[in-house]
């Protein structure tokens, strides 16, 4: 059970970010079932709000009682050691875990107040609103054009060929890939370089104008230059989209995100503005991680 004591909302009316009272443990490096998320895990203008979420793979529990809000048009980074459940958590947000056999999600995940796990919800529509970019670039074995046009086609977003052309161009421009591929739109998307492929996947995701984009370590398979391009892109995209990004690189989290969430063994330890997490983390575990004591 989450035991975070949150101050009364009225007291914090001047601030958009609610803050929790810091509870100190006897030994801060021990996390027990009675663990507490420290920091500002709730926001006022929440796009998505996640409350007390548990995720199980069969009998094994992967996520323990996670609660966090994702604000509108913010970039939230999720960091933590390997196997801490960051990706699992991310995949719970657009119900990609449904495709995994034996995976079960408990708790309350809402977007704009709508329960994402309600039986009435249309998963297909949800995934059109919450796009996803994967760790390894996974363009379809089709032409560059068809890759980007895929989403608009299946959702019937374009009435004419001209509309579709426009949509493809706009998405490619926003993914800052247009200039590189405009002369070979009808060649295979798999023929691009790794960084270009990943930007193609981002273009593909934004072509259906989602509200939230989930990125699961989008740069881990890329070289530093391609990574820099993607990071620039994330910054541009954050003007129009809400972005949740899982990353292994703390520098990347520091560069692109406004808030950072630190996960440890399936538990959300701390959520705070990125600057604070990297300069004066509240929780001892966070500090150990960012100073490189483990991870």
């Amino acid at each position: 059970m989450q035991k975070t004591a949150t101050l009364d909302a009225d007291d914090m009316a001047d601030s958009s970010i609610k803050s929790s009272v810091k509870v100190t443990n006897a030994n801060p490096l021990d996390i027990t079932d009675e663990h507490v998320t420290v920091g500002s895990y709730e926001v006022n203008n929440a796009k998505m709000s996640i409350k007390n979420v548990n995720v199980y793979y069969g009998d094994k529990q992967a996520i323990f009682d996670v609660s966090v809000d994702i604000g509108k048009n913010e970039v939230i980074a999720m960091i933590g050691p390997s196997g801490c459940g960051k990706s699992t958590f991310l995949r719970a947000l657009n119900r990609m875990n449904d495709t995994v056999d034996g995976c079960r999600v408990e708790g309350d995940i809402r977007m704009d107040g709508q329960d994402l796990y309600s039986p009435k919800l249309d998963v297909v529509e949800l995934r059109a609103r919450v796009g996803m970019v994967f760790q390894k670039p996974n363009p379809f074995p089709k032409s560059i054009y068809d890759n980007v046009a895929y989403g608009p086609k299946i959702h019937g977003l374009a009435d004419t060929r001209v509309d579709l052309d426009e949509m493809v161009e706009r998405s490619l421009r926003r993914a800052s890939l247009w200039d590189e591929v405009k002369d070979r739109l009808y060649q295979a998307g798999t023929g691009l370089s790794g960084g270009q492929q990943q930007r193609l996947c981002i273009a593909r995701a934004i072509a259906v104008s989602p509200e939230v984009i989930l990125m699961d370590e989008p740069c881990s398979a890329l070289d530093p230059i391609a990574t820099a391009r993607i990071e620039e892109l994330i910054e541009e995209l954050s003007q129009n989209f809400t972005i949740a990004i899982v990353t292994h690189s703390m520098q990347q989290a520091a560069r692109v995100s406004q808030r950072t969430a630190y996960f440890h063994l399936g538990k959300l330890i701390e959520v705070n503005p990125t600057e604070q997490v990297f300069t004066m983390p509240e929780h001892a575990l966070t500090e150990s991680y960012i100073t490189g004591r483990f991870g």
Binding site: R127, F134, F140, P141
Partner: protein
């Protein structure tokens, strides 16, 4: 001593050589304190010695077996007095066979001329001598090889690379064997076909519309020429194959999609083996199923609609053949669909595509090359299938595109031309080879076309 005795002795010697080579290397290792100081593991030295012992001797053995008989026969024939020797080569061979039979004892010696009996005796003696000579030479060579190979064993000797080189050559030899066998078959069919085309012009065969290979025995009989137009046979083959593929491709493909994409684990666990049992039924069983159950049923069904269906119809044969091919297509397609990376499906699902959109627009295009390859294999099988067609679609070489009629196929005609007592110089028999050659060319062209199609339309992942 027979050649197989020598062979087994040789194997025994090689095993011994293995242990000797290995033992020698262990000895060396002992002096150097540990096998880590050897270049290769002791087993490699063993294999190396064994190869030196066995391989040259084995080659010699093979050579000896091949050369042995002709040489001995030639020697015996040479020693015959000139007046016994016939002039032409056919009788020469006959005489050699006679002497051989006398020597083996198949032909009783009573009543044969002295010259031949003594020749047979000489043949026996020479064979005996050759066998002992072979055993002695081969085993000697093996022992020399053993000593030679063992003498190489040293700490710095690269036995590992040498052994692997030999393995590489062995692999190459196996690949060559497969290719040369195919080449041999093609050439033999080709030469017999050329023989056939001497009596029947090529264009009559390829473009002729009438097939009735019955040739009269006497030249003055009616219909003595026979007609060898292959078109009705190829049309029949095409018709039956098309019917079969019309059933097998959709059903096989869809069952593969169901099994690979939708079925849960327990359904899969039962459905896949069940399909494979279908593949294991002998075609002759399918054949009488087609002839005795499906064909009459189709005829009755056709009658109730007012259609006249022949009791041996292309439709019946094709339908049953299609059922036979279903597991073939579904199992191959299932494999390639399962091999499409999960990342493709995730990418599509994360775009808000439904499962069936994902299958239709991403998974199937990605798996297409494999699926087409599977279908091509299935087509080749359909064209080559004989038993079902023999039993269910008849022998009448009708030139028709109506699947309700009785037709015959290339393979069926090959069977009827070559079964029973045949003379191997009449066009009737040789036609079988020409048909085989045509069939081979047609399937070859089909395969090449299919490969090109796949190359053009393949959507490559990774």
């Amino acid at each position: 001593m027979q050649a197989n005795d020598v062979f087994f002795l040789l194997m025994g010697l090689s095993a011994l050589a293995f242990y000797m080579g290995r033992g020698r290397s262990l000895e060396i290792a002992g002096e150097l304190r540990g096998i880590r100081n050897l270049h290769s593991l002791p087993n490699y030295y063993g294999y190396y010695t064994a190869l030196w012992c066995g391989l040259p001797a084995l080659l010699l053995l093979c050579l000896w077996i091949i050369v042995d008989d002709p040489v001995i026969i030639a020697v015996v024939m040479d020693s015959l007095p000139g007046e016994v020797l016939p002039s032409n080569s056919v009788e020469h061979t006959l005489l050699a066979n006679k002497i051989n039979n006398l020597a083996v004892g198949v032909l009783p010696s009573a009543g044969q001329s002295e010259v031949l009996i003594s020749a047979a005796q000489q043949l026996r003696d020479l064979t005996q001598l050759s066998r002992w000579g072979m055993a002695a030479t081969v085993l000697c060579l093996a022992l020399i090889g053993l000593a030679w190979g063992r003498s190489f064993v040293a700490a710095k000797f690269r036995a590992r690379q040498r052994v692997e080189k030999v393995v590489q050559y062995a692999l190459f030899a196996c690949a060559c064997l497969a290719i040369f066998t195919t080449l041999g078959i093609v050439l033999s069919v080709l030469f017999e076909s050329l023989q056939f085309f001497k009596s029947v012009p090529v264009d009559d065969f390829v473009l002729g519309l009438e097939w009735s290979p019955q040739t009269a025995i006497r030249a003055d009989q009616v219909g003595s020429s026979g007609s060898f137009g292959a078109v009705p046979l190829f049309v029949g083959t095409l018709l039956v194959s098309v019917v079969a593929m019309c059933i097998a491709v959709p059903v096989g493909l869809m069952s593969a999609i169901y099994l690979a994409e939708y079925a849960n684990r327990s359904v899969r666990a039962y459905a896949k083996p069940a399909l494979e049992i279908l593949a294991g039924i002998p075609t002759v069983v399918y054949g009488f199923f087609a002839a005795l159950t499906v064909a009459p049923y189709l005829r009755d069904l056709g009658e109730s609609f007012g259609l006249s269906v022949s009791s041996e119809s292309a439709l019946a044969a094709g339908a049953v053949m299609g059922v036979m091919i279903i597991p073939f297509i579904s199992s191959l397609a299932d494999d390639v669909i399962t091999a499409v990376p999960q990342a493709m499906r995730d990418g599509s699902l994360a775009m808000g595509a439904t499962h069936s959109e994902t299958v239709r627009r991403v998974v199937i295009p990605a798996a297409l090359p494999g699926i087409v390859a599977g279908i091509m294999l299935a087509v080749s099988r359909a064209i080559g299938e004989t038993m079902i067609v023999v039993m269910a679609s008849g022998m009448a070489a009708n030139l028709t595109f109506n699947p309700l009629d009785s037709v015959t196929t290339v393979t069926v005609q090959i069977v009827t031309l070559l079964t029973g007592d045949q003379e191997f110089d009449s066009p009737k028999t040789l036609a079988a080879f020409a048909l085989g050659l045509m069939l081979f060319i047609v399937t070859l062209i089909l395969n090449i076309v299919a490969l090109q199609v796949v190359k053009r339309f393949r959507e490559q992942y990774e």
